[in-house]
């Protein structure tokens, strides 16, 4: 192009070429072209959809949300009865999905850290167990793992009548884990206030200790006082005002344990599978993060006489975190998205209870699929935004 320009004889032609080659003009042109394509595409799709729906008598309205759903849900975090509306089902689905995501994230982070460190262990057995743990579990589809765990959990656990019990309060059988449920008693508010005060005190102490360390170089104990502040005030308050919580104990009555909290096997299987699967990826992140910290750091720390545990905690991990955290957050997003595979073992998460059961019973494909995708979009975009901001702040700055 540049060659053409210099040899073009006519000035009008040159001007035209200059105009065509102008970066701004081109940018505007390309963008206008793309925009019109996108707009046309959307217009085409939407007009088709409207025509199709009117022709086939399908309705896209959200009016069905107020209709009674009429089916039972096996595990609900928020109260639900068979006669409740579809909107309630949506809420139940969201609550269950969030619960799975949060629990799985916590467990997978801990497991991932352990596996990542085990991968770097001096012990040959541990190193290799960790390696094969990662290799095997990372390379099998999660859907299959979830089903495998579901049956695994099942065959290992006894039937309700032969439940494993602990202190007559906690029971484990193949219908799930039964825990005592706390019931709010008279002094609950007082204990709650004490707990909040304790938390505030713990945070304040942690900040104080940090300021002392950073500014005066004095090391204050952190863990002990914080734990004490968290535990002592609520317990004291509880003792002072009498029992703030009553416990609803699970009891074997008829077919099942009644009362307490029941965690069904599908939930356990889902959590185990999700946590273990994700922990493989997190483990690899942790390993590569730690390996990215130059060896000299460890050696320097040892030369200064820093004990190995403290080297890891105060020197290696903080530097490794910069590498670990961005992929870690996308793993967290994956956990949220992967929880949708719960459908395979019938755990009532959003996809299973909403996009599958409700869609089937009500037949309203468009609003239901749109609402499901909308929920995942909102969650992911919120996390994504935070993550990109963080990513920008830790990028190595050039010039």
């Amino acid at each position: 192009m540049a060659l053409l320009e210099s040899t073009a004889p006519s000035s009008a032609g040159t001007r035209l070429l200059a105009f065509v080659n102008n970066a701004t003009v081109r940018a505007v042109f390309y963008q206008a072209l793309t925009l019109s394509c996108v707009v046309l595409l959307f217009w085409y799709l939407i007009s088709n959809t409207i025509e199709n729906m009117s022709q086939r008598g399908m309705s896209a309205g959200f009016d069905f949300l107020g209709v009674s759903a009429g089916f039972g849900i096996g595990f609900t975090l928020i109260p639900y009865r068979e006669g409740d509306t579809y909107l309630r089902v949506f809420m139940v689905g969201i609550a269950n999905t969030m619960l799975v995501a949060v629990v799985a994230i916590v467990i997978s982070t801990v497991l991932g850290l352990i596996v990542g460190l085990a991968r770097l262990s001096n012990n040959w057995v541990i190193r290799n167990v960790a390696r094969w743990y990662i290799e095997i579990l990372r390379n099998t589809p999660l859907l299959l793992q979830i089903i495998a765990w579901y049956f695994g959990v099942f065959t290992l656990l006894p039937r309700p009548r032969e439940s494993l019990g602990w202190l007559d309060a906690v029971f484990l059988n193949n219908r799930g884990l039964y825990l005592p449920a706390p019931l709010v008693g008279s002094g609950f508010a007082v204990a709650l206030v004490a707990l909040l005060l304790g938390i505030a005190g713990a945070v304040a102490w942690a900040r104080y200790a940090r300021r002392e360390r950073e500014q005066a170089g004095r090391i204050r104990p952190v863990l002990g006082p914080v734990l004490a502040l968290l535990v002592v005030p609520p317990v004291l308050a509880a003792l002072a005002v009498g029992s703030p919580l009553a416990w609803d104990m699970p009891q074997l009555r008829g077919f099942n344990f009644v009362g307490g909290i029941n965690i069904p096997p599908s939930f356990c299987a889902l959590i185990i599978a999700l946590s273990i699967y994700t922990s493989c990826f997190i483990g690899e992140n942790v390993r590569s993060g730690i390996q990215s910290v130059s060896r000299g750091q460890t050696e320097a720390a040892r030369a200064l006489g820093v004990p190995p545990g403290r080297t890891m905690r105060s020197i290696i991990l903080p530097q490794a975190l910069r590498v670990i955290i961005p992929p870690l957050i996308s793993q967290y997003l994956n956990v949220t998205k992967n929880s949708s595979l719960a459908i395979a073992i019938g755990f009532p998460d959003l996809v299973s209870v909403w996009m599958h059961t409700s869609l089937n019973q009500s037949g309203r494909a468009i609003p239901i699929v749109a609402m499901t995708m909308g929920f995942y979009c909102v969650v992911s975009l919120a996390v994504s935004l935070a993550m990109n901001r963080y990513n920008r702040s830790i990028l190595i700055k050039e010039r």
């Binding site: 077919f255 029941n262 869609l359 037949g363």
Partner: protein, 346 residues
């Protein structure tokens, strides 16, 4: 790699994709015309289920509902093989029909008011009267569904079964805990492993499933039938002629049983003097022509597929593993104490 090359290959690829995957058809025709133009019937069945739409290891489909598809194909093309079976999950069955992908749906679908009136569907009739029941282990000493208060029940999700279960327990002031799945085998495994106290499904399926348990004698089917499950073929709302075709093929098969016409004797019966048989087989009258089919469409159906009794015995009768006895059940002819009552063919 130079730019023109990229563009050229891109254009070629786009073209290839267009020729490969998209099959564009003339728009907005009546279903019958579309089916004839295509040369085959798109008949939707469910994921393989014994007795109704079973898939054998050689890849062939068979079953009561499959025979419904074959019957309609035989009526149109005189060839029961001109069917393309679409096996989809129950989650997408109605959308697949509504969006025009399937011509008809023949997959143990319960006729309910909401489905009929709000989902753009049209039920063409009932080819099997089913009802929901429970299987429990014998060792539990349960004799009646009324004793299931507080039980954990394994139930297939996304079907009317799930709704009936909830209704039944609510109606009897009992509570239950559902364990749901969309895969029957997962549910059965769960039930066998003690994960639930009872397994519920349409009774047509319970006997077959029980026969595949490790020890079938240790499980019993409870006497209660907790729901009405009229199962039948479904078509899209709005194309009445197409609905008529499916409906009268079904009625024709039942009528043929009532009149004693079967695949074995259909050619002799053409000479029958019985006016009812004459009308059924198109020797008299023009039932078929009114729907855009030849007069003798029922001869085709009966020749290739057989009458209702033949279909029933072939797939779910006493000699099959599914083993659903017919005598005295709802699925017997109205003349034999059942409620199968074909509308008169005239």
């Amino acid at each position: 790699m130079q730019m023109p090359n990229i563009r050229k290959t891109a254009a070629l690829l786009a073209f290839a994709a267009a020729t490969m995957g998209l099959s564009i058809e003339a728009s907005a025709q009546a279903t019958l015309a579309q089916v004839k133009a295509r040369g085959s019937l798109n008949c939707q069945v469910g994921l393989p289920t014994p007795g109704f739409y079973a898939l054998a290891s050689d890849g062939t489909w068979s079953g009561m509902d499959v025979d419904m598809c074959r019957g309609v194909a035989a009526a149109i093309f005189d060839d029961p093989k001109k069917v393309q079976y679409q096996s989809v999950t129950s989650a997408v069955r109605f959308t697949s029909l509504a969006n025009g992908e399937s011509d008809m749906l023949s997959r143990t679908t319960t006729w309910t008011a909401v489905r009929d009136t709000q989902l753009g569907l049209e039920f063409a009739g009932v080819n099997f009267y089913d009802g929901q029941g429970f299987v429990v282990p014998k060792s539990s000493n349960i004799k009646s569904a009324k004793e299931l208060n507080g039980a954990t029940v394994c139930v297939l999700t996304g079907t009317t079964t799930e709704l009936n279960l909830a209704d039944y327990f609510r109606a009897n002031n009992m509570t239950f805990k559902p364990v749901t799945n969309e895969n029957v085998n997962v549910l059965v495994e769960t039930y066998l492993g003690g994960g639930c106290d009872a397994y519920t499904n349409d009774k047509s399926g319970l006997a077959a499933r029980r026969s595949a348990f490790p020890k079938p004698d240790e499980h019993i089917i409870l006497p209660e039938t907790i729901s009405k499950e009229p199962l039948g073929p479904v078509v899209r709302h709005g194309d009445n002629n197409w609905g008529d075709i499916v409906r009268w093929v079904l009625f024709g098969m039942i009528e043929a049983e009532e009149l004693g016409v079967s695949s074995a004797n259909v050619t002799e019966m053409l000479k029958s003097s019985n006016p009812n048989i004459k009308r059924l087989l198109g020797v008299e009258g023009n039932v078929g022509e009114g729907m855009g089919l030849p007069k003798d469409f029922m001869v085709r159906v009966l020749k290739h597929v057989g009458n209702y009794a033949e279909v029933y015995e072939r797939h779910v009768g006493a000699k099959t593993p599914v083993n659903i006895p017919r005598d005295g059940s709802l699925n017997a002819l109205w003349t034999k104490g059942g409620i199968l009552y074909p509308m008169p063919f005239r």
